[in-house]
């Protein structure tokens, strides 16, 4: 039933996007691009966090949702937190994109096969739901952010069909989505006032995402963290044994706090372009 609703949303929104593109004076529907198809299908799913939570995830071999983290710590989730209000506090948040904000020290990349495995209980939306609740305006026809989300929640991994459509039609070139360059055309979601959060695909997986499994593709961390923290080091060792990529990079320079993002982008360019 739930899956059907998500599939119906996807089909409706793909149709709406095609209509928007075909409107008189509109950008027009581009012919299917093998580049956009390949990038949208192969793009990894990312999760970045703080050094403390990263080390904890390495120790526990799992990424946990805010709800499970609170339960395990013997406390309740903050009741007015965005994800509680949006009904997503039971989810681990990932992005079908490189690491974005606000973390700069460490992160995990997962293969798209993670989405295939979580097709029955996961979901995606073509925007950041956290931004929707606070920063990004949604069309007046929807009463609440939750109502808007309910109509724009897509199944895993099929949301990549919508991603492909946007990559080939809204962006100047498909790579712009990955590189964080804003689209040339706004699209028809009716969102306003945001930044990359308006068009970055968010992937939500209930409860937990195991780290030591077949979906982990790459691990990124400041060199000093890998060397000084035993849990992070243990994960790097596991990755070495399992042929999972390990990227230990320089800590921040004098004025550069973009290293995690740029390391991730370089990695994706090597793997996908």
């Amino acid at each position: 039933m739930r899956r059907q609703r998500l599939e119906s949303n996807l089909s409706e929104q793909c149709q709406r996007l095609r209509e928007y593109l075909s409107e008189p004076g509109g950008p027009g529907v581009a012919t299917t691009s093998t580049r956009a198809q390949s990038l949208s299908q192969q793009l990894t799913v990312s999760h970045s966090t703080t050094p403390r939570l990263f080390a904890k995830a390495c120790e526990e071999s799992n990424l946990f949702s805010a709800m499970l983290l609170a339960e395990r710590a013997g406390r309740s989730v903050v009741s007015d937190a965005v994800d509680v209000r949006m009904g997503t506090a039971n989810c681990v948040f990932l992005y079908a994109a490189p690491f974005r904000y606000p973390n700069t020290a460490c992160g995990f990349l997962f293969s798209p096969s993670l989405e295939e495995e979580r097709r029955d209980d996961g979901a995606a939306s073509p925007f950041d739901t956290g931004g929707l609740a606070k920063h990004v305006g949604f069309p007046a026809g929807y009463g609440t952010p939750i109502e808007f989300l309910g109509r724009h929640e897509f199944p895993l991994p099929d949301h990549r069909e919508y991603l492909q459509l946007t990559m080939e039609n809204l962006f100047s070139k498909p790579e712009d989505y990955i590189e964080g360059t804003a689209p040339r055309h706004a699209g028809c979601l009716g969102l306003a006032g945001g930044d990359a959060r308006m068009w970055t695909h968010e992937v939500r997986v209930p409860d937990r995402v195991p780290l030591r499994g077949r979906h982990l593709r790459a691990v990124f961390a400041h060199r000093a963290l890998v060397v000084s923290n035993q849990h992070i080091q243990d994960l790097f060792l596991w990755c070495a044994n399992e042929s999972v990529d390990r990227i230990a990079f320089d800590g921040p320079g004098d004025d550069d706090f973009e290293m995690l993002q740029s390391e991730c982008l370089s990695y994706l360019k090597r793997k996908l372009y």
Binding site: R100, P102, T104, A105, L237, A240, E258
Partner: protein, 213 residues
Amino acid sequence: MEIIGYADDRDATMLPAVVPPVFRLKADSDVVLLPPYSLHFDAVVRATAVTMEEAEHLRLMEQITLFPAGGQPAEPGHQMWLHRDGRRVYQPVHEARRTLDQLSAEAIERAILQLAKGQLDLAEDSASEAILSNDRRVEPLAIKAAIRRRRGLAAEARLMGEIARPLIESGAFVNLVNYYTRLITAIEPVRPVLKSLSPMDAIATIPARAARA
């Protein structure tokens, strides 16, 4: 602009560390700037702007740290870093770099002394502090590799070599690891065997061997 926190959260074993400030516009206190970004004198480039409410949410999610006592003025050419004891320091970049490098050098000296005394756990901690203070130094990596080699952890020792690769040619790194390994071995050549001896045997043998070394 003022600084109202930093986009990081770490425990004491992950300090010292340079951290990216969370900025807030003085002209509009509801505009908060988050990394990734780069700083160019007094400009913050390619930051993500969020509202104060969103910043507060990120604090609750333990993704950023906000100062409980409010903001402090942002200064061009300054850097924020956290001391090993958690103390926050905000100073000109060149001073921060010099202080951190000094801390790193002191921690390396300490680690070498501890290695020579066979205090391997303490030497590990000192080497961690050294690399956290300056991650371009290779000595802490070599010290850690030597300790792991001494403990029979070959894969962990190899990992140190892998991490050191962008910083030093592999032959030079191996030489450095050999040097530190000899330093440990010179002082406590047969430490695992000592466990089976009586405490008096140990007391009798360690100084004699150390003296010969």
